[in-house]
């Protein structure tokens, strides 16, 4: 699984490992502001259109110290890490923060930032989370409008429709390229590890988007296709894990157990790149449309929508990728996932699709116990596949 090893990839790897380092360097190089946003639905295009750098604030790998006395231990690792980063000054590179998502834990972390960095603007354009009400579209358009005013004020630049259209096209192009990697993996034409794909997506949340696109193009042009994986591997879908990426070591561990990850619905994966912003019509309205479309193309447990189900989306994804089972990765204490998980399990059980739940924590990885569970799970799938149907 070495197809992505290249100079371009190592640049992305460095950015994914040290997002703040990249932001500091970009700011030094350009002299322009850096605006931090939060998962999972912020339209970075609107910040990009001002000339500032939009960065989705990432979970840091450093142990949580000061943050312990600001948010309790029973919060998800992402929010605890963000609170900690604010308290120890790791977020000082940001000139402002913007968010659109209402997750109760995320707002707790946002309040810690407001408290720790009172001079830094923190704008909350709360996008409605009930997606299919008659007023949902108007509400989101209204919030995009308020977002526009805020970012213009922060950066001191007017967001023209033309500039926003350029940014929309840039982000769409980037998502398009990222989806190509996922498609190549799914169809088996590219052997690429889950860790490597995570690097591609995570770095796109941080880097200047055209710079990122150029690097993706360089990687794609250097790929040697096709490279078929061995049949002996069990094909799995990784599900869940909102807001922060699962640890790369965990992804490696899973793949070391005779697993070929063929698809996912992770935020640092297909969820993030699932949907493009319409390029025709009013570009501000297009951002609102994108938000609403996203929950249709990749339904999420943090949104509520009557006519859309994550469970049936998951089953369709499995049909599409030919995955034999699902590993649900759940950041411990993530409430939306805790709430939705039984529905996912119910549908998978009804179709006899094996599912394994693994909880993750900021503090580390119980590697050996997880390895045993994954191996047992893989063995179960292998045996299930070998079962010869008996005559009734």
């Amino acid at each position: 699984m070495h197809e992505l090893e290249s100079v371009a990839f190592s640049v992305l790897e460095t950015v994914a490992a040290d997002p703040i380092g990249y932001a500091v360097e970009w700011k030094r190089r350009t002299g322009r502001p850096v605006v931090g946003s939060f998962p999972m639905n912020f339209p970075s295009e609107i910040v990009h259109a001002t000339g500032a750098l939009p960065v989705i604030v990432q979970e840091s790998r450093t142990p949580i110290t000061e943050g312990r006395s600001l948010l309790p231990e029973f919060y998800c690792s992402y929010t605890r890490s963000v609170a900690d980063q604010a308290a120890v000054g790791e977020l000082d590179v940001f000139d402002a923060f913007v968010l659109a998502d209402h997750c109760v834990q995320l707002l707790g972390a946002a309040d810690v930032i407001r408290w720790a960095k009172p001079e830094t603007p923190m704008h909350f354009a709360q996008f409605i989370s009930s997606m299919d009400d008659p007023w949902s579209g108007a509400q989101v358009r209204d919030k995009v409008a308020s977002l526009r005013v805020e970012v213009e004020e922060i950066v001191g630049v007017t967001v023209t429709p033309e500039a926003l259209r350029v940014s929309i096209r840039a982000f769409n192009a980037n998502r398009h390229l990222l989806r190509r990697f996922y498609d190549l993996r799914k169809t088996g034409r590219l052997r690429v590890s889950a860790r490597q794909l995570q690097v591609l997506v995570k770095s796109s949340m941080v880097m200047e988007i055209t710079e990122h696109t150029q690097l993706l193009e360089s990687i794609l042009s250097g790929l040697e296709l096709p490279s078929e994986p061995p049949d002996s591997l069990v094909r799995l879908h990784l599900s869940g894990h909102f807001c922060a990426p699962p640890r790369p070591e965990l992804l490696d561990l899973i793949e070391e157990c005779g697993v070929l990850v063929v698809n996912d619905d992770l935020y640092h994966g297909t969820r993030y790149i699932s949907t493009d912003v319409p390029e025709d019509g009013d570009p501000f309205d297009a951002l609102a449309t994108w938000y609403l479309d996203r929950n249709v193309s990749a339904p999420c447990g943090t949104r509520v929508q009557r006519n859309v189900d994550w469970d049936s989306y998951l089953v369709d994804s499995l049909d599409d990728s030919g995955a034999d089972g699902v590993i649900t990765l759940m950041a411990k204490f993530c409430e939306p996932l805790m709430l939705y998980y039984p529905e996912l399990r119910k549908v998978l059980d009804a179709r006899d699709i094996p599912v394994l739940l693994i909880e993750t924590e900021h503090e580390g990885l119980a590697a050996e116990s997880i390895r045993t569970r994954v191996e047992t799970f893989v063995e179960r799938i292998r045996r299930q596949k070998l079962k010869v149907p008996t005559l009734a």
């Binding site: 919060y75 309040d111 009930s130 509400q139 204490f333 709430l339 529905e343």
Partner: protein
């Protein structure tokens, strides 16, 4: 709420330090008698709900804010999810529901209100399926948790907590999406602007109008479901009772600025159910009149709610329903009068002057938005300091509620603010809203004693 107390209600308190006193394990709390009537009213209310289907009534399941005046005006029977979870926990009957939830797949770290209620949904749904399949009796109908009548539809209007909205979206799915759901979206009052504050600023002026419009749509939805025109006069009448009951509740609360206090936070906890979801009628008004009368009489008769009150404490956090009686006695044991709290004093129709009977929906929308978990930090700080001043608070008990992040969110920072701005000491103890397993007695006792000792030291310096 303004507090207007004559000096005669202030008495000198014995403020000798905690360490030099021997703690007696006797119940030093003296709860109000009038609140027991509320218990009876609540029990009757639920008994009535359990027979709703037999009486041919439409049943709505809802969570979050107090939409009940609307439901009442529409002739519905209303089941409030949190209220039922709280009731089960307070009666120590939450086990079967939580077990049903666990078997369905809900993890113990999930909001225990939600998983208790979702467990009830699983049991109710199972009951429906059994009836449909003719296999009756698998669910023990004697278990309180399985008694909820199945819904005809759901309404969700949850302020401040994303879990609240997602929870109902899941209940809707537990019932196989067979019953419609209506969502009222309540934006957070983020309070980021220069003009922002409690009940003021542009954000405050604009947001309720958006919610009011949704409430109108909710009423259209209810009309469609019930096939009956909505009775707007009944809504105004309901709100008139609520307004009066709320005024009486606040007047009675204000009397507790007296030292020693004639009633405590625990009495206000006992009065949550009446103000939060019981039918709006004269009985409700009479209930709060009786509470106020008893408090007034206590002041005249010089009767305190805690024997030998020496410390006045504010309680921040959602109630620990499994431990209501226990906590009442526990704090009193240390001569602590828990006088006020965020959950009781900054919730439940707490600004009755906002209710305009000619335009009831606006006042309702405003109240839904001032739910005490729906403010950003700046407003939370403002409210906490205001209450501390009103009730001459010496210390704050933060109930670090394991599965309710909405209530826990600002606590660490609020503790720092109270200390910085008023020199008020605080401590934090671990517990939960409806799961007794998370309660840690040692964290309460050691934290409380440490806080009282710091207060003693402060007093000694003065």
């Amino acid at each position: 709420m303004t507090l207007d107390l004559s000096l005669s209600t202030k008495q000198s308190l014995d403020l000798s330090p905690t360490r030099t006193r021997t703690l007696e394990v006797v119940d030093k709390s003296n709860r109000l008698k009038s609140t027991s009537l509320g218990g009876k009213m609540v029990a009757e209310y639920w008994d009535n709900i359990f027979t709703a289907k037999e009486r041919g009534k439409h049943v709505v399941w809802y969570n979050g804010t107090a939409l009940n005046p609307i439901f009442q005006a529409a002739g519905l029977e209303w089941c409030h999810g949190e209220a039922f979870s709280a009731r089960l926990a307070a009666m120590h009957l939450e086990g079967p529901a939580q077990q049903a939830g666990e078997e369905y797949g809900y993890i113990a770290e999930l909001c225990s209100y939600a998983r208790t209620h979702l467990g009830c949904a699983v049991m109710t749904q199972k009951g429906i399926t059994e009836k449909q399949s003719g296999i009756v009796g698998m669910v023990d109908q004697e278990e309180l948790a399985s008694k909820l009548p199945s819904p005809d539809f759901f309404v969700n209007a949850y302020a401040g907590c994303s879990t609240g909205q997602q929870w109902d979206a899941m209940t809707y799915r537990v019932f196989g999406k067979d019953f419609p759901i209506f969502n009222v979206s309540l934006p957070m009052i983020w309070g980021n602007k220069k003009d922002s504050g409690y009940l003021r600023g542009t954000e405050w002026e604009k947001t309720p109008l958006y919610v009011e419009e949704q409430l109108k749509k909710l009423i259209e939805f209810i009309e469609y479901q019930t096939k009956k025109p909505f009775d707007w006069d009944a809504l105004s009448e309901n709100m008139s009772y609520i307004k009066r009951a709320s005024e009486l509740r606040l007047e009675a609360m204000a009397l507790c600025a007296a030292a020693p206090t004639p009633a405590t936070y625990w009495d206000w906890v006992a009065s949550i159910a009446p103000i939060n979801f019981l039918p709006a009628n004269q009985l409700l008004v009479d209930y709060f009149q009786a509470v106020k009368d008893e408090i007034q009489q206590r002041i005249i008769d010089n009767i305190s709610a805690v024997q030998n009150e020496r410390y006045r404490v504010y309680f921040d956090g959602i109630m620990n329903w499994n431990k209501l009686g226990f906590l009442t006695r526990k704090f009193a044991e240390f001569d602590v009068a828990v006088v006020a709290g965020r959950y009781t004093h900054d919730s439940f129709w707490q600004e009755p002057q906002l209710i305009d009977l000619d335009r009831p929906l606006l006042g309702m929308a405003q109240h839904y938005l001032i739910c005490p978990i729906n403010h950003g930090l700046k407003i939370m700080e403002e409210l906490l300091l205001k209450r501390c001043d009103e009730y001459a608070i010496d210390g704050i008990a933060f109930h670090s509620t394991r599965t309710c992040r909405a209530m826990t969110n600002p606590q660490h920072i609020l503790a720092r603010t109270a200390e910085r701005d008023r020199g008020i000491k605080s401590f934090s103890f671990e517990g939960d809203v409806a799961d007794a397993a998370f309660y840690k007695d040692e964290s309460l006792e050691s934290g409380l004693v440490a806080m009282l000792e710091s207060i003693d030291q402060q007093r000694a310096k003065v």
